[in-house]
Symmetry: C2
Subunit: 309 residues, 2 copies
């Protein structure tokens, strides 16, 4: 590994996990990865989406609401202690119970001194065969933002958010230099042969493009392995956690089928270099983006009023 | 070539040109490509950015303003006749003189019956070493839109626009099923060895991601060849005109160094399929994109007011 200047150097850890039905087993696996991350000099460790359980959204079952917990709460308390003990920032995706009958898909951001900095509630909620998230999660109401941590200004988004340029843009405009995406994405086994390669490439393409469009790093952390908690063919999560550089290039990619801690060293000075050599932020037409907040622009118009000025 | 259903089948032509200093020579080359396109059953032909001249923006020279012309005007009149004669839609990027001292980088959209449908004025204007466009072109004031042509609902953007997810999104929201990007992008020869591959990949990545995020086709048409109208090392335009499918995959790519007409057959029925299988448009958080129209969000905020409702 090249020796990097300490002031611009950030070592991120991607905890690629094969999540089990047993909560305690997942928590122990996460703790083991946190310990390893600490030993290997990681500044920020990101856990995969909903790492404390199997991906229960394969089925609409009211029983699964019992998995939810308050945030902050017992789990974040425990993780905060670990963050403090090991002096690393933790990004932990959890199933949040906000009130009776009100649940979110949420990530907690815990600073390297153990401080609970806040949470991101997944804004874009999918609903597709075996990804029945709209049954469980109310869409987030905290918007897009970033957090000032001891390891730098970090943004957090979750899984389905990764398909939305608006989410990445807003998080970057809030100052994030690294976007973390805890994720649970995989194949329907019966579709894998036909469209599996294309699907995984598209997943990576979208996020690499966010890195490029905004001149930020993107760190995407996925679970892996086959899970069929609802019976049937289940889902095969494709791992392949990766890091994209501010120029959109692929900096690191984990294998599809391997549990463990994967590392990348981010040279944060490349952000300034990328943004001045490809000065996209300089030229945004902020006077002309009216309509982005609309569902569809089916009304016949010859031009935007806001562009006529 | 597979036989496609006529109602969902669109044959696009990408006119990859090596543009010369001589206007007439470029016009003749374009006419030749239009004729060939007609013979090969093309429905929409897109010419590269500013195809009537060398890429004069390598130098800030007032003399080049003499290249500009009104739109509509003599060139669009001539091209309209050709569009009508050959029954194809033409997208023609021209240097527009709007008034004394007021110029735009503009594309005219000419329907297959010769009708001048309107124009798109490049909204995002670059300014980088040897790409001194801010000297010549006032940023567009017509906003983002699409045009109903005899070959379908088409969107037009130009070169530097291709780095902006907002531009692609708005054009798609206006109903465009295909986004055309007339382009003039190339390498600084002295940089090519070190960063050339990455630059071209990033260029393709950004546009493929627009196709994916919006479930549309993207057709990017670049010039190629070395040009040094301002002396010095000049620029080496990298050709590689390409088409991306609505799933972000690369459908066709032209070589880096070959003049000619390149074709792709677009199955427009894939748009509905892609958008229902990957329903990104369904889940956009239009209540939460406030801030996109801001330059930067450096004010400390805990959440967006619009997300609190």
């Amino acid at each position: 590994m090249a020796l990097l200047h300490p002031s611009s150097f950030l070592r991120v850890g991607l905890a690629q996990m094969h999540c089990q039905a047993n909560r305690l087993q997942n928590l122990l696996a996460a703790k083991k990865l946190i310990l390893e991350a600490s030993e290997r000099g990681v500044h920020v460790l990101c856990l995969p989406e909903l790492f404390l359980s199997e991906y229960f959204c394969q089925k609409e079952d009211h029983a699964y609401f019992e998995l939810a917990e308050p945030i902050p709460g017992p789990t974040t308390d425990e993780l905060s202690s670990l963050a403090q003990e090991h002096q690393l920032v933790l990004i932990a995706s959890l199933f949040e119970k906000r009130a009776h009958g009100l649940y979110h898909n949420t990530a907690a951001i815990l600073d390297a001194d153990g401080t609970y900095l806040g949470k991101y509630r997944k804004m874009h909620i999918p609903d597709d065969p075996l990804f029945y998230e709209k049954f469980y999660f109310t869409p987030g109401d905290l918007g897009f933002r970033s957090w000032k941590t001891k390891a730098g200004q970090l943004g957090v988004l979750i899984c389905w958010d990764q398909w939305y340029p608006e989410a990445a843009r807003l998080t970057a405009l809030h100052g994030a230099e690294v976007l973390f995406y805890p994720t649970a994405i995989g194949w329907h086994p019966s579709e894998k042969k036909e469209v599996g390669k294309q699907q995984k490439e598209a997943w990576q393409l979208a996020q690499r493009a966010h890195a490029l469009a905004n001149g930020v790093y993107v760190v995407s952390v996925n679970r892996f392995g086959h899970e069929a908690p609802a019976g049937g063919e289940g889902l095969e999560f494709w791992g392949s956690s990766f890091v994209a550089a501010p120029d959109g290039s692929l900096l690191m990619e984990a294998p599809e089928n391997q549990e463990g801690l994967f590392l990348a060293d981010l040279d944060l000075s490349l952000i300034e270099k990328q943004r001045t050599h490809w000065p996209f932020l300089r030229d945004r037409r902020i006077d002309a983006y009216t309509g982005i907040e609309q569902r569809y622009l089916d009304v016949e118009e010859t031009s935007f009023p806001s562009c006529r000025k």
